[in-house]
Symmetry: C2
Subunit: 360 residues, 2 copies
């Protein structure tokens, strides 16, 4: 008789136990150094705040370059796809995984431009071959159940997906990643994302449910109704893991684990759009200090994304109307985030350059 | 007796004569190609519009990479600096030129990160050595006169500065630049920028005059009053060149020439903050088609920047609260702009990748 170890001893629990706090002293050193650099005080705007955050995450100023970036694209399918919430056939999840593994998707192009790696992880795809070449097979189950009719998955499934995410994060950092980037692929995955955002922020479902990609007015009404049904089933005192299992998705849970894993390893985690933010909400409900390790890469036009950003107190780096997923918005932010570290590392000080400073 | 050739025969006039229109067919080809790429239609947001604009500028789709970038930092001084509109000593202009030439300024750090070159051009510095090592000496005059008391310069000075800008643009493109980036350095140069924005947009001076770097409430009131005095002196029917000469600055005029020179050479011109935008307003008043060759790199918090962006119908790529100048905001946008071209060049189509398309 073999007994599986209790889930509390998995990679996610280990990451939670290892998780520290961003170092406020290092952030202060970075802010003080910015005052000495040859520019008007504060004139680098958000780059100065990012530089201080990178210093806090690394525990040193100037911070190391948050490079190379490593993008993990977690893929899953969703029972709710059968409920009329998406215009795309479910087969597209597996087809797009093969496209990403083959280097032809948007995330591949953006990752190459940013000298970042792309790792694709099947955490719950429902169609196509069991093993796709170039895809890391960590399927917890072949898609979730329809969250409109009952729990999307068991809490044990959700724990396993959290573990997969935390393990991938630890592996990528061990291989030398200086920043982690969340990515996702899954037809219909904005539906569980909306449900998670509603559950964790307390906002009405109709205000956080969006059109995803290719949803018309009638489909949106259906989508809102299904999200409302799912969220209404949650007990008022549901713990974060129960919420994730009941109305979430496998890639959402894996991303939550990935974020905690990256934070525990002390690297910045660049978070993409509404899928990633819904995972971050779950992770932050379990461990609030992880938010300090996260940088919102961009503002997705999905209403749930802005609701999550507000709730978490995050200001996105980019706002370019991107709603593709795969980690594209977060990946595109990498050069800006790297620049924030480079400025602290490379700019001359007033003293060294012989430039007159503002009178105090 | 030698007679100077009429200014109409200078580099700026030549660029104006050579200036074409962006190619709307190429833009349409790019938009059509985006519909075939493996992503939901429109899901790359602003990157799709940028890709179409790059195609229109190059006259072909997919467009060439807008790389390498070449930043030209035009430097000048301003008589109005003596009027209590800035907290910085005028010597800082020359000191910062040496810093940029030495590689220690913010623009150097950002340019290295973007694999872009930095060229520094003295078009009107008033203090320091006549020749600074590493700085291209094209001084039209040693700073402008105080625009609050009379014309900042003659129209002949302004023409010469326009020529310098157009020549620098042509040289950089001849040396292989795939995109030009406007940069500036000049203590007090947000004052003439505000006057130019007020003159070209027709907005009240008080609404387009900002704090620049390090201006307190009293200084801001002085600055608004001086800008109002300068703009009030303009005749109602002043032509764009007269406006530039009367209330502008040498680097503002050089940037106007640089933008027209880049557009005439058929490369995208990435425009920085309020100094560059005020130059672009002057250039667009002379040749409206140049706006189609320009990409607003970022939104500066200076109120004149947003007024100019609105007037020109430009949507900035970044909005990071940067107000440093030197071309820093525009340079930081280069990777995003390059990504727009890469996506059109490298992404797989639905057919090639075997991914199901949205039903039409």
């Amino acid at each position: 008789l073999t007994v599986a170890p209790p889930a509390q001893e998995g990679a996610f629990a280990a990451a939670l136990a290892q998780l520290g706090q961003p170092d406020e002293n290092a952030a202060r050193w970075a802010r003080e150094h910015h005052e000495r650099l040859t520019k008007p005080p504060g004139s680098l705007g958000v780059l100065e705040a990012l530089g201080a955050q990178l210093a806090a995450i690394a525990g040193t100023s100037p911070p190391p370059l948050p490079a190379p970036g490593a993008i993990a694209v977690f893929a899953g399918d969703h029972g709710v796809a059968a409920g009329g919430v998406t215009a795309w056939p479910q087969e597209v999840t597996a087809q797009m995984l093969a496209n990403i593994a083959g280097g032809g998707a948007a995330i591949n192009v953006l990752a190459r431009a940013a000298s970042a790696s792309v790792t694709v992880i099947d955490v719950g795809v429902a169609t196509g071959p069991a093993a796709i070449p170039g895809v890391v097979g960590r399927r917890v189950r072949a898609g979730t159940a329809n969250l409109a009719d009952g729990p999307a998955m068991t809490t044990s499934d959700a724990r396993r997906a959290l573990d997969v995410g935390a393990e991938v994060a630890a592996d990528l950092v061990a291989q030398g990643a200086g920043a982690l980037v969340t990515g996702d692929m899954g037809i219909a995955n904005t539906t569980p994302a909306a449900a998670l955002v509603a559950a964790f922020t307390g906002r009405p479902c109709a205000t956080v449910t969006g059109r995803g990609t290719g949803v018309d007015d009638a489909m949106l009404a259906t989508k809102v109704a299904l999200v409302e049904r799912a969220v209404a089933r949650l007990p008022r005192d549901a713990d974060p893991l129960a919420v994730l299992a009941t109305v979430g998705g496998l890639e959402h849970a894996a991303i939550a684990g990935f974020i905690v894993g990256g934070a525990a390893a002390g690297v910045p985690v660049v978070v993409d759009g509404v899928i990633a933010l819904s995972g971050l909400l779950a992770a932050a409900a379990l461990a609030p200090s992880i938010v300090g390790f996260c940088i919102a890469g961009h503002r997705s036009p999905e209403p749930g994304a802005s609701a999550a950003l507000d709730h978490l107190g995050l200001r996105p780096v980019l706002d370019l109307g991107m709603r593709l997923g795969e980690g594209t918005g977060a990946c595109l932010a990498l050069p800006v985030i790297e620049a924030a570290a480079r400025l602290l590392r490379e700019m001359a000080t007033f003293d060294a350059a012989g430039v007159a400073q503002l009178p105090r």
